[in-house]
């Protein structure tokens, strides 16, 4: 099955980002395709490369980057939501991309499921 994920909250502050990641990981493990993670609202702050959590904690931006690298998951941040919150090409992780809401519409259309995580 082909799955899109919509993530509406930033890293660490809410569990949404962790739940989305764990869900994506499990879906891939079960042989499904995770097509894209679309970041909206505060979710766009998931992909800033300046993130520097304590060493014994998870690195959320790095984790999304790896999901992109290893499994071809597109990690997309909405441009309008990003601009408001200071997320730009200058601060984004390698596998992250800033794009429009049209892309989310495509994701909603081309996937079997769109699963939302937020607060």
């Amino acid at each position: 099955m082909k799955i899109g994920i919509l993530l509406k909250e930033g890293p660490y502050n809410h569990q949404a980002s962790d739940s989305a990641y764990k869900f994506a990981e499990a879906a891939i493990k079960k042989g499904h395709t995770v097509d894209a993670v679309f970041l909206y609202n505060d979710g766009v702050t998931n992909v800033t490369k300046h993130m520097d959590p304590p060493q014994d904690d998870r690195d959320i931006a790095k984790r999304w980057n790896e999901l992109g690298e290893k499994h071809g998951v597109e990690v997309l941040a909405c441009i309008a939501a990003s601009k408001r919150r200071g997320i730009s090409d200058e601060v984004i992780i390698e596998k992250g991309e800033i794009t429009g809401l049209g892309t989310l519409t495509d994701i909603a259309i081309r996937n079997d499921r769109l699963v939302t995580f937020g607060d």
């Binding site: 309008a80 989310l104 519409t105 909603a108 259309i109 937020g118």
Partner: protein, 121 residues
């Protein structure tokens, strides 16, 4: 048309206290260009988004209530409002900025179940 998807946006937050309703509306306006079968359900505090007479000058935040009136021009015509949510808040259709279809929770629940995609805001 086989590849037209039924997509419902669910508005459940009061306006201004958080951005979810406003950014939800921005999403709907973009999706409207893609000729899918869009609808918007206002339930819980989401019904407040449609309240007349909102004037945000005093809080320094851009108002967006009137943008709901533009939805019609984008061919987003399926606006459903939960009757119980309205009544619980002492509101009637006359308090709302736009023409909507007032339905019971069960009727909206049934519509939700027909959707290919439900997006919460």
């Amino acid at each position: 048309m086989e590849d037209v998807k039924k997509i419902m946006h669910v508005m459940r937050r009061a306006p201004h206290g958080s951005i979810y309703t406003y950014e939800g509306l921005e999403m709907i306006l973009i999706m409207a260009a893609y000729e899918q079968d869009l609808s918007v359900a206002f339930i819980g505090d989401g019904v407040y988004a449609l309240k007349k007479d909102q004037d945000t000058a005093g809080i320094g935040i851009k108002g967006f209530a009137k943008t709901f009136m533009a939805l019609d021009g984008y061919d987003v015509e399926k606006l459903y409002v939960d009757k119980a949510s309205l009544e619980e808040r002492g509101l009637t259709e006359d308090d709302l900025l736009v023409d909507v279809e007032v339905l019971t929770s069960d009727e909206i629940g049934k519509l939700m179940n027909e959707q290919d995609v439900v997006i919460p805001h």
